[in-house]
Point group: C2
Chain length 707, copies 2
């Protein structure tokens, strides 16, 4: 495999520390101290204008150019005024990678942004990769390359382990690092990308997938500059079998308001992030604690659960119910215990409640090895992907727990493909010994269930990844889509179902057209200047004979002229009036980061009142279209709701696919599409109204999202 472009950033062979300080507590002094304390083995050259002969015991240099050795990597933490010179010097010296830890760039003002762009340009031109500016640095834990001034490392020496952490915000990274370290979790790499003038979180994820020391990736974003790269990195991780647990802050209106005031980053549409993360096999965590819980579970178990079925063994009925509640709310299943297992459990523990959860009752304490034997029969008799055992506080008494512990370890070795999770309070050495054998230990039952549910969902998502096709070439102009009639003709051309309807220029033509299609009909005004027809009274329904249609033509034209004297009027659209069917809505929303997204939702008021809408990246496959239907509750209305008929879901899914393919192929032109309503009938479906908005000229740059 070729070396990853970020390899020099994480694996320097020699490091200049520009702005190094003799004071090990100052910003310029800490990275040097951390690396010396940790035992980083490559040469480190402190650089400081002070002309000190040594800094923290190492020979020091006034400028990078003065270093009489090759320099591979520069860590810059001089004041902002000196950064450009330090970058130029470092490039001149031949470094392959630069970290700019100094702040005061795009996050502050326009001058800072200009300076940031200048140094990024210098690096780009020289083929040098740059982390930052305004980065908290990075850690390569196995090599002890601790290039950060984060005080989180004071007294919390990084431990090596399989968890990687890539965050935009350094403070976010510090918080997660410190919390994880207090829990004894170990890291492979930690990186804070800061202002992301060059390297971003997406590229770090891409690097970490290749990193042999990393087994699970935690990431945190406030914004995303390049949706295609983020998608590609997440998909690469999914296919490589490395779970990504990702946080994207700014998920509510309050949070988004806070985001808009923060570090020059524009938060994207939150529902779109949810969608993209899921499509790319990642899990979005809601809190730092949840993110670490999931990473801990995976780092311990070393695998995802093979399915979403779980079994619970407990000595407390109440805790069992609590865990069943949590499991149900989070999409896990508790299949019933097979009869053979029930029988065996009752032989072992006659007073047990031998179902799932399996309540061993206090009786278990009277049966030698009652817990591991109960768990064994659950594992042996079922295919549950994960099993939980609630063991109260027995782990606080290592001597009493020793025999049980040994049996549990043996059991885990017999069933290495399952997740085994103990919920108990325990002494650190007990948890550590269990974890070394792949058995996870949680203190809180609800958090244990939450972590297993996240891994089960990651497993499910890997079965239905969105693998984007290559970007479409520039598409031929769509023609006139400014009217309902024009939009529908374009959609019909793309294979979407549109009723036979006709645009008429006179009352007589309208009456004749209606007679040809059968009564009743509807009539609607057609004008490129009137998007919202109902606002001008531009729609008439239930027209049941020729004279009514002719009269409707005149009425509509008069109303339109009265309401919008300047509007161009193309005529009146006459269409059959459908009865029955279920109204849904479908559409396209061009996300500035992730490109065209398909929107599907409930018709009527539910889409707004209940947010009964879901998104998916275009183009859809038939399988992904069906999955999109499942994410909208109103889809239930198509399935014999309250004894009613079954409607044509296949036609609906097909319409969504065609819409998505059309939008993907014309992503360079289309801003949005609204089909409202899209009526689903017992046979077929029909787009009853459609609006297409094109992208303003000058913003169309190729067939895909802006890169």
């Amino acid at each position: 495999m070729a070396m990853h472009p970020l390899h020099p950033l994480f694996h320097p062979t020699s490091v200049a520390l520009v702005g190094a300080s003799s004071d090990p507590e100052r910003i310029g002094g800490r990275p040097l101290r951390f690396m010396r304390e940790g035992g980083f083995e490559a040469p480190v050259y402190p650089v400081n204008r002070s002309q000190a002969e040594t800094i923290q015991g190492l020979p020091a240099y006034a400028r990078v150019r003065d270093i009489p050795h090759p320099v591979d990597h520069a860590v810059i933490c001089v004041p902002v005024a000196g950064v450009e010179e330090a970058v130029r010097d470092s490039i001149a010296k031949g470094v392959r990678a630069i970290q700019v830890l100094t702040a005061g760039f795009a996050e502050v003002d326009a001058a800072g942004r200009a300076l940031q762009e200048r140094i990024a340009g210098l690096c780009r031109d020289a083929g040098v990769r740059m982390l930052g500016p305004n980065s908290l640095g990075l850690l390569n834990v196995p090599t002890r390359f601790f290039a950060t001034f984060s005080t989180a490392l004071n007294g919390l020496q990084p431990r090596p382990g399989p968890i990687a952490l890539a965050t935009q915000s350094g403070a976010f990274g510090s918080a997660a690092y410190a919390a994880a370290s207090l829990r004894g979790l170990g890291f492979s790499k930690i990186v804070a990308t800061g202002n992301e003038a060059d390297v971003d979180v997406a590229e770090c994820i891409d690097y970490l997938v290749d990193d042999a020391d990393t087994r699970v990736i935690c990431a945190a974003l406030e914004s995303c500059r390049d949706g295609a790269c983020l998608r590609a990195a997440l998909l690469k991780a999914a296919r490589a079998g490395k779970p990504v647990v990702i946080m994207k802050v700014g998920r509510t209106a309050l949070g988004a308001a806070a985001a808009s005031t923060h570090t020059g980053s524009l938060a994207g549409d939150d529902a779109v992030y949810d969608t993209v993360f899921a499509e790319c096999g990642a899990w979005r965590a809601g809190s730092i604690e949840e993110m670490l819980d999931i990473a801990y579970l995976y780092a311990t178990a070393g695998r995802l659960p093979p399915n979403a079925d779980v079994g619970v063994v407990t000595g407390s009925g109440g805790i069992g119910i609590l865990m069943a509640d949590d499991a149900g709310e989070r999409g896990l299943d508790l299949p019933p215990l097979p009869d053979a297992a029930r029988t065996a459990a009752l032989e072992l523990l006659p007073f047990a409640v031998a179902s799932n959860p399996l309540d061993m009752t206090a009786q278990v304490t009277a049966v030698p090895q009652g817990v591991p034997r109960t768990l064994a029969l659950m594992l042996d008799h079922t295919g549950y992907g994960s099993v939980f055992a609630y063991l109260a506080h027995v782990g606080l008494s290592p001597e009493r727990f020793a025999a049980t512990q040994a049996e549990l370890v043996a059991l885990r070795r017999r069933h290495p493909e399952r997740l085994m999770v103990l919920v108990m309070l325990s002494r650190p050495e007990v948890s550590a010994a269990l974890q070394a054998e792949g058995i996870a230990v949680f203190e809180d039952p609800s958090r244990a269930v939450q972590a297993v549910a996240a891994l089960a969902r990651i497993q499910q998502r890997r079965g239905m990844l969105h693998l984007p096709p290559p970007p479409a070439p520039a598409s031929a102009p769509l023609g006139d889509v400014a009217t309902e009639d024009g939009a529908k003709r374009v959609l019909a051309g793309a294979g979407l179902p549109v009723l036979p309807e006709r645009i008429c220029r006179s009352a007589a033509e309208a009456a004749e057209a209606a007679a040809g299609m059968g009564f009743p009909v509807v009539a609607k005004i057609v004008s490129p200047d009137i998007v919202h027809k109902t606002e001008v009274g531009g729609v008439l329904l239930h027209l049941s004979d020729g004279p009514a249609v002719a009269a409707a033509f005149d009425t509509l034209m008069q109303r339109a002229r009265a309401a919008r004297p300047d509007a161009r009027l193309d005529g009146v659209l006459v269409a059959p009036m459908l009865r029955g069917g279920v109204e849904m809505i479908a559409g396209i929303h061009r996300d500035p980061t992730f490109g065209p997204m398909v929107m599907f939702g409930s018709g009527g008021t539910a889409v707004e009142l209940f947010k009964d809408v879901a998104f998916a990246s275009a183009p859809l496959t038939p399988e992904r279209a069906r999955a999109l239907l499942e994410r909208v509750r109103s889809t239930q209305l198509l399935r014999g709701w309250r004894g009613g008929p079954h409607y044509d879901e296949a036609a609906l899914a097909d319409a969504l696919c065609r819409l998505s393919e059309f939008a993907f192929a014309h992503a360079d032109q289309i801003e949005s599409i609204d089909i409202n309503p899209l009526v689903v009938r017992t046979e077929g479906a029909a787009c009853l109204d459609a609006v297409i908005a094109l992208r303003p000229h000058g913003t169309q740059e190729g067939g895909h999202a802006v890169h």
Copy 2:
């Protein structure tokens, strides 16, 4: 104040421990060991048939009657076969309270249930209060009365503190106790009620409200035997200013399935529990960890936040956004920072993002006392009920944090009515010192926000408690409500809006009635034997003249006779046909535990698809009726939705009040009421259809829920 009936249970003056063991590790040995280790001062008399002279160093007796001193309290942990005799002996000796820790009663089989009822009867007849059976016992922490065999006390000596814990499940209590103890939380009283043959969780809450050592009450239920007592206890707590944080397990279908197999308890309707807890000022926690977080926060702060406004001060924009997200999702507000505060913040920290969250940026480290000064100006310039400061991991460095800590403490003393919450990693002695000053410390930002949100909600709920009136006397028979016509007449008599409509016995009468009320009209079959009229084609709409009504009469009668030859047919109901308005539903559901609940929800499919429905205990006050409307999202449809009209919410609220009063007054007769639809018009409202189901004869026992 008179002594509380449970006082003897918690404050024994002398204790017989029946089933005491010399082995301090056995069930009968542990309570004695715990009390001796803890220093319980009242006399304890071990009782064991072994005729040992001493047990764990105390003089022992073969039977309770042999104790040559007065005995106030008996703790029974003999095998189940000996329990009845021990109870009889204890009663004969004159105890005031008995705890039965032995298991094997109603939770096992019918014989166990019979035995349980027998011993409960013995106690009741003797005026002795009984805890259990199948109880894990109780702890009065200040007096060191540790009457439990829970191994959670091994190595986790209970610390006194303001938190009380009352749970049904002993294992649940042990889990919460152990987790809390590891966090350093202290308790006043802990009690596990087990099978609740006499004392239940509700009565324990009632007791704990009076307990001077208790400031906040944690409770956990699997079922509730007496809804009125639980309500009364929660309301007493709310009015006494003691927050109750309560868990009710069995909230999902999976959990409810688990509950139905557990300890002979029937889980109630989950939405009803939510409603009752909220109406009585309690907070329902979803996990043990959440329950303890909230209890910790209140125990530390000593008060509820005065309002739901919060301010966030952070050194990390990302964490600020995360906390804003969490706050918004949990019903807290982040009002903008006033201009004066913004100006002051920017004077102090020119690079700060001076909004709310207030991002101090890394600059804060360069400003002496930057954190407390920033927090001070937020507190001084706003009325935020709670302020958060995110301080990363600074609490891990006590010496560096000392000056900040002193300033924060001074600030807290200046603003004692606000909640001050720090989010940081810290050493235990740092957290402890802050907590002693009323400043709470959380490690995880999301959990900190969650706990504050819960206390803010408790504060809000105290402003709108449901204070049930005295039970209604037995009500006069309602008469015939078996038909739509009968039900509507009864509801109209109760003051609910019903259209002028008429039951007709001939086609001619129907046509004449219609002419009197104006066309169009609707016609519906009326039969006490046909509840679902649409199933027999029993409703005809849009009847626009007399002949159509006459024909409809004949059609309806024929259809009904064909579909249900045995049905009694009262005739045809003719009613004006409404146009416009918004369809909602309203009803009454008699909960077996909590009595009549008002149901209000969306019309159409949303009530089922989106659970757009809310409950409230009857009777409603006008204020509570308006609050009920706010809990249903479809209420938005009444408020100029998409430019439409405003509908008559006052008429709707009035209808709900009258319905609730009627149901409360006739609670002895009514099983359920469905008004579907209840159409809300621009002026007034109308019950278009109504079904009243009466309780079966023989189940009606007075005007209130069964006690």
